[in-house]
């Protein structure tokens, strides 16, 4: 890479905004998990570094057997290829998974999920420039 290219890259990294998309709504009964990820995937290439956080009822989405399409609504699986393509960081609150009795071996690996403790949430949230709740 040319020195100018390196300088541009450094400048751009400084200019990137980190945005957390936090979704708390159930994966069945509302569209917000799908819409959250649609927003996230649209952020790439736009000077935005998006990250997803699933909390409260939204954590139900990560269970291998969570298939809203069985109720005739949009599947969650349409997000997987883009999570893989963009290597989207997806977090879920550990205590919320426990609340719904979701074991780690029941999590669909395609979510590329990382767990976060409730006690670490405040610092985590404050590390972003913007937090957008769905």
């Amino acid at each position: 890479m040319s020195p100018i290219g390196i300088l541009t890259l450094c400048h751009r990294e400084e200019d990137m905004k980190k945005v957390l998309f936090a979704v708390y709504t159930s994966p069945a009964g509302s569209i917000w998990i799908n819409e959250t990820f649609r927003c996230i995937f649209g952020m790439y290439g736009q000077d935005i570094e998006p990250v997803a956080l699933l909390l409260n009822e939204a954590v139900l989405a990560v269970h291998k057997n969570c298939k809203p399409e069985q109720c005739g609504v949009l599947p969650l699986s349409i997000t997987f290829k883009y999570i893989e393509k963009y290597q989207t960081k997806v977090y879920a609150v550990k205590e919320d998974l426990e609340k719904y009795n979701i074991k780690e071996d029941e999590i669909d690996p395609r979510w590329n999920l990382q767990l976060i403790l409730k006690s670490d949430l405040a610092e985590f949230v404050h590390s972003f420039d913007n937090v957008i709740f769905f």
């Binding site: 905004k17 649609r38 952020m43 000077d47 913007n130 769905f134």
Partner: protein
Amino acid sequence: MIITIQTNVPPYTNEDLDTAIHLAEVFLARGHKVNIFLFADSVLSANKFVKPMRIDRNIPMKLQELISKGVEVHICGLCAEYRGLTEDMKIEGSKFSGVPEMAALIYESDRYINLMP
């Protein structure tokens, strides 16, 4: 300051649009630049053909008034298409945009407010 308000839910079921409109009026009065981004079902609030009861508020017209005062009203184009909202139905001065424009608004806004019930 540049302030963007995103709405997501229908205008005549939830009252988030009313909140957005009131906030926009206050922000404008204080000299801020205001954008409103209509996402998901909230795009329905840009339909100029709504016919609310006379005693109720006409949300599209209120949005149009805001536009005339300098507020930019963005409509998620894909959401609009999904819901059958076409160019000839939308309020004057509003514009179809999309997630890339949302990203740009997030990037350039000093405050980005996402209203969810």
